[in-house]
């Protein structure tokens, strides 16, 4: 057999195949240029597509964590405000107690002081029933009901709600009010005892209660610190999520997105190749000797 014999049919087939191949590559390059994606189907790179989708899933996870972080930070901020107010109440209560323990004041003055302390008790009650939207901050999981009733009995849950802010990190979005306000020291009772002692014009008892006021203040301050710590952890998670998200997006883009300069150059090369192949091919297909007969 003579494998060197070339016919117009084989030239025509070569031309058709070349046109088909170049057209296919041009179409692919055009699709990439239009979509900005170098992978448009799983078969374009099965392993890369699976990796890209895994990365996209992780990016979306970070977005969800980010949303939860925003919510958690709102809670932390609101809880910190509330505990700050509670601390201020005990600061003022201590000032009143120090004055009330002094022999300088008489019964009338102490009665007036007792009125202010009664108002502080009401303020503390309001703080303990603080809300963020419809949620009571210090009612634990039962946050849709007030944490304390009128008699300062805890109505909430000892379990607290948490929200996920990273793969393995959860943060509190509610607090157990019985621990915060009635833990090692019952903040309500301390204030009520001071009011009673002032009404009874009993400076000695008022003086003795100052240490309880300090203990309550310290207890609330320690809870404020805890909230602060959780806020720091949440902010840290937010920053970490942002960094991770940036890295993941870079990796995702490396896998999926086109290099625009490379794609446009390739497209231009392919179009030139197509024109050249068609020009040369169409000249080769015709039988030239016939023109000379």
């Amino acid at each position: 057999m003579n494998i060197y014999r070339t016919t117009q049919g084989s030239m025509s087939r070569l031309l058709t195949n070349t046109a088909s191949r170049l057209n296919s590559e041009i179409r692919r390059a055009e699709t990439q240029a239009i979509t900005g994606l170098k992978l448009s189907r799983p078969s374009d790179g099965p392993a890369d597509v699976a990796s890209a989708l895994k990365l996209r899933g992780l990016i979306e996870d970070q977005a969800e964590y980010d949303s939860n972080v925003t919510r958690a930070l709102s809670f932390h901020s609101r809880a910190d405000d509330a505990l700050s107010q509670a601390s201020e109440i005990f600061k003022r209560a201590k000032e009143i107690a120090v004055a009330g323990a002094s022999e300088t004041y008489d019964a009338t003055s102490r009665a007036a002081m007792a009125v202010e302390v009664a108002s502080l008790v009401e303020n503390l009650s309001a703080v303990a029933n603080s809300r963020m939207g419809e949620r009571y901050l210090f009612a634990g999981n039962d946050y849709d009901e007030p944490a304390f009733d009128a008699a300062f009995a805890y109505q909430g849950s000892t379990d607290t709600p948490e929200t996920q802010i990273a793969v393995t990190t959860w943060t509190r979005t509610g607090m157990d009010g019985s621990e915060v306000f009635q833990g090692s020291v019952d903040a309500f009772s301390v204030l009520q005892d001071l009011e009673t002692a002032l009404l009874a014009n009993d400076p000695a008892t008022v003086s003795a209660g100052i240490s309880d006021l300090d203990a309550a203040f310290n207890h609330l301050t320690s809870w404020r610190q805890r909230v602060g710590n959780e806020e720091n952890i949440t902010l840290d998670a937010e920053e970490t999520a942002g960094n991770i998200s940036t890295i993941l997006k870079d990796e995702f883009n490396n896998l999926v997105a086109i290099d625009e300069a490379e794609t446009y150059t390739r497209l231009s090369e392919l179009q030139q190749s197509y024109t050249a192949a068609m020009t040369v091919g169409s000249a080769s297909v015709s039988g030239r000797l016939f023109d000379l007969i």
């Binding site: 003579n2 494998i3 070569l14 448009s40 078969s43 039962d142 979005t173």
Partner: protein, 458 residues
């Protein structure tokens, strides 16, 4: 030897040149005819005659018109045609099935499952919040609907492929009979009818494209056509192929002696490619069924451990009632949960505090546990399936491209043997035109000599 012999010799030259010009003309006319094998005229000396001690030539005779043909190359070409069609057909079907798993430009199954877990994660902000629960219900329902629609679409695709197989088989049986009929005509012509041989080659090649066959030539000129080791055409007898479909599977048979012999493993060409693709799609559906079963177990078991707003244990989260040929076709999110989101059992305690999301927390952790076959997560199982689908399509495409190169080489080889080169035919035309003109001149000179002789004796 005399003037009359010269006249006779010149006439034979005219005849030979005329036949050669006919052959060249026919070649030029069929230069673009698919399957045409160029013809060439074989000339030989006419038998000489002895006059005394001398031998004198008597001109030229046409020994035959040859068809440029190589059976080895033709068999290779037929085999390659079947292989190329098989790869291309498989890729064509897998390309369509791949669309249902495309998760690059639009959200596919892995991304949508991710959406379910994302909505659960978001619900930890406030497990009792209605809008967050609605998001969970919507994402779960959308995901389940997508799973079932994917399964239904794949089953529909299988049905369409099987319908197409039926159509192909109908043509295949007609073609088998055509080849048997052409064998009959070729035997009758004693193997000399080049046009019939070309037609039969075209039919065999087309048959190879449809089901992938081999052939060999018999001494009587007939072609025996084989599918694997089974004879489809033997002389003037053609056998019938049939197909039996079941869900996602097609079996092929050839009728032999009033019985049916299975030839599914031998099937190639476009039908063989479709059959392979059908098997692969069935595999995807089986994987999807297994995924649905494992996901339902995972979600339903965990949801049952939690308590809803009324302190009742959780209902099934996902359901797959069956009914179709595949479990995944009936995969749904529990309508009760969709209608009443208070039934979400996110709490770990029956007291059902608004913020009790302990069971929700465990449900979120299911995202990364290895509860699926191969110790994969749910997303991992879907990504494996997607990779399998993509790899199958990519592999079929690579095979198509490789086979196209082989087929193209073989077509080039056949062209070099059997194809028409217009330059070559132009040269032949010039050569035979010159022969014809020369023979005509010899005839004229002979005629003049004869006239001279006649004038001398008048």
């Amino acid at each position: 030897m005399g003037i009359l012999s010269t006249l006779s010799s010149a006439r034979s030259g005219l005849n030979a040149a005329s036949v050669a010009l006919d052959a060249a003309s026919n070649n030029v006319s069929n230069a673009s005819t698919e399957g045409y094998s160029r013809r060439s005229v074989r000339l030989e000396n006419s038998d000489p005659i002895q006059i005394g001690s001398n031998w004198r030539g008597t001109g030229v005779s046409v020994a035959g018109v040859d068809r440029a043909y190589d059976v080895f190359v033709s068999r290779q070409l037929v085999a390659s045609t079947g292989d190329q069609a098989e790869a291309e057909s498989e890729y064509g079907v897998l390309y369509l099935s791949e669309s249902w798993f495309n998760d690059v430009e639009i959200d596919g199954l892995p991304t949508m499952l991710q959406g379910v877990y994302d909505s659960l994660t978001q619900a930890t902000q406030d497990p009792s919040d209605e809008s967050l629960r609605r998001e969970v219900a919507t994402s779960s329902n959308t995901f389940a609907t997508r799973v079932s629609s994917t399964a239904e679409s794949l089953v529909d695709l299988q049905d369409q492929v099987q319908d197409r197989m039926d159509g192909e088989l109908s043509e295949v049986n007609q073609r088998i009979q055509n080849i048997a009929d052409l064998n009959k005509a070729v035997i009758a012509s004693q193997g000399n009818a080049a046009d019939l041989l070309d037609q039969r080659d075209i039919q065999i090649s087309a048959l190879a494209e449809q089901i992938g066959v081999d052939f060999h030539l018999e001494e009587d000129g007939s072609a025996t056509v084989l599918l694997g080791g089974h004879t489809l055409v033997n002389g003037i007898e053609g056998r019938t192929l049939s197909v039996q479909h079941s869900a996602g599977e097609s079996s092929f048979f050839v009728s032999i002696d009033d019985g049916l012999t299975g030839v599914s493993g031998e099937m190639g060409g476009a039908v063989g490619g479709m059959s392979t693709a059908l098997d692969r799609i069935e595999g995807y559906l089986d994987d999807l069924d297994l995924f649905v079963e494992e996901l339902s177990t995972q979600f339903n078991d965990q949801h049952a451990l939690g308590f809803d707003a009324s302190g009742t244990a959780g209902q099934e989260w996902f359901q797959a009632a069956g009914g179709g040929s595949h479990l995944a076709e009936s995969f749904v999110f529990n309508q009760n949960l969709l209608d009443d989101m208070d039934l979400f059992a996110f709490a770990a305690n029956a007291s059902a505090s608004a913020g009790d999301g302990e069971n929700l927390r465990v449900m979120i952790e299911m995202e990364t546990d290895g509860a699926f076959t191969g110790s994969k997560s749910g997303e991992g199982a879907l990504l494996s399936l997607l990779s399998e689908v993509g790899e199958d399509a990519a592999s079929a495409l690579r095979s198509t491209e490789q086979q196209a190169v082989v087929l193209n080489d073989l077509q080039g080889l056949r062209d070099s043997i059997s194809g028409v080169d217009l330059d070559e035919e132009a040269a032949n035309l010039i050569e035979f035109q010159a022969s014809y003109q020369a023979a005509a001149k010899v005839l004229r000179v002979s005629g003049e000599l004869f006239d001279t002789l006649m004038d001398a004796v008048r």
